[in-house]
Symmetry: C2
Subunit: 344 residues, 2 copies
Amino acid sequence: MTTLKDLSRHLGLSITQVSRALNGYPDVSKKTRDRVMEAADLLNYTPNIAARNLVSGRSGVVGFISRNLPGIAKNTIFFETVTGLSEAFSARDVQFVLHLTPETDTGDIIPVYDRLFRGGTLDGFVLVDPLPEDLRIQHLLTHKVPFVVHGRGEMEPPYPYVDVDNRGLAYRMASHLTALGHRRIALISGPEPLAFCRFRLAGFRRALAEAGLEENPAHIRHGFMTEALGLTATIQMFGDPARAPTAIVCGNTLVSKGVYQALGSLSLRVPEDVSVIAHDDAILAASPESFAPALTVTRSPLADSWAPLADTLIGAINRKPIGTLQKIIPFDFIERASTAPPPA
Amino acid sequence: MTTLKDLSRHLGLSITQVSRALNGYPDVSKKTRDRVMEAADLLNYTPNIAARNLVSGRSGVVGFISRNLPGIAKNTIFFETVTGLSEAFSARDVQFVLHLTPETDTGDIIPVYDRLFRGGTLDGFVLVDPLPEDLRIQHLLTHKVPFVVHGRGEMEPPYPYVDVDNRGLAYRMASHLTALGHRRIALISGPEPLAFCRFRLAGFRRALAEAGLEENPAHIRHGFMTEALGLTATIQMFGDPARAPTAIVCGNTLVSKGVYQALGSLSLRVPEDVSVIAHDDAILAASPESFAPALTVTRSPLADSWAPLADTLIGAINRKPIGTLQKIIPFDFIERASTAPPPA
DNA sequence: TCCAGTTACCGAAACGTTTCGGATTGCTTC
DNA sequence: GAAGCAATCCGAAACGTTTCGGTAACTGGA
């Protein structure tokens, strides 16, 4: 291992000046900078990061903490998140560690964050799936630990986050349907306590309210967004055909796949009898083009979040002002063949 | 952040003695050790790992490097590996970082290992899916970088590995069939260049040779171990019924699922017409009990490898002798209903 | 000639820990 | 009363980097 001392001896310069040359300080002449660079290259110099960490008080490592739940290996979204973040941080020369606690460990997860932050093992954290009042967020905020949240909880006090525009896309989907003349619109969304569902529900409600429509609780369903949810929810909503919806807003394309199946088995046509619209996060197997008829969607690839998340966390670690650390990922609206005016 | 200096001041002891008390050195009296522990607890002391790393020359971080290939999110085995290793290392207070290079980056992967090891970013690596002559292994060996391999390549010179007993289990499966009287036995295994397939093939061959059987190249198939492989390979092997096998050894249970399907569509019964046997790594959706008839298997859960892999890598980092760093995971043989003597 | 300003450089401290070599005490033993 | 020995303790160096506060040499203007 070559060190700065080796380089300085080899060049007849002080350690200080070599360090400053390598780090691009202005008070180094062009000539010596070139000499230093060349020598560093020749002697194969790599800065020792432990030493750098010691003086900077940073570790250059960020973490993602989760419990190792049984089904975790089948959770494609989780995996996509891990690989996406991993690649994004690698590209920024930050180490990304996945910290899984055993599923048998039923204790509180907050001490894990504490233990890893104190002593400087980790510089910050990525959190996903926040609850509206998330204890982890409360805790990290009060202890001034840098973090970034994928998706938002309640917003007071403000904290760093990156989120798809959940309120906006739900509003867009629902208002597209109201504009077509629908008056009974259903929503099949994700697990109720999660913040992103709250936001989507809020956007959905605003569109209904603006169109002067009453909300029907029987037409709102929450649950894990799978094909099965779409299928069972649809079947149930059409139990009483007189009160059944004429349009369905789906949390993702997988849900709408189940909806298509249910409608097919009820001999109802899309879009003549029922319009279907979904949000496409471009991550699941169910691609909206593959539907017959092709699915109208709002589109916002989850994969667009990884780079902003990495940048935001790095910003939070460097104590950038909060204003620069809150990002909303925009969405596209893509009208295809699954939406039409309601039957007469 | 409380430091050793704070503690020593608070206790009226030297930094040295506090450090030694905390680290369990023998030349500290019981009384002061207790006092130190209590104070450390009181002042919420956590050692600064950057400082510790600087003096120890370690980083406490190990890595797993892979290219972020398109299908990676659907690769359950990869994901199971990542989560399993992550949990195993977390439990040992070692940081585990997943390092994914962009799929667009087509360059050689070896410099990535170099860059991360030099400068002390990472202490060692976990490698999976070794080739028989693996360049990564060659390179890490010559540069004395600690690593552990899951599965083995060629064994000279020896290096640290953890592996299921591939040769043994293939031998066990095949010799079970020869003992039953089968004389035409097929093998449907994994990608040919991978080391584990070579070992399985060797075990398979030995069993055949011991039974005095000729090997039929048409009865040996390699490929990605999916249902589709089992299905197509079986259909092809039964193209000429006179030369068709009477028993099939499958690389995993997913393959045997395809084999069952093919045999069903050929109106052949298991085990009366054809015996089927597989290796069960207890990781895929296809559980051997769920087969009809239930599948005879050798069983060796992949999940049993994570803890030994972590221990072995940590041993390699601590320069333990090579003899303690090579582990073979044993397997069980579970006879169920899918194997019987060949038809008369 | 003197002074101020710029440019290029350097010494030393600091980050928090581990560890080497030695120092101090109190007790036994001859 | 000195020597030997174990039990405790401590000072200081070391790990490799960044950075603060300075110094020296040179420039140009008055």
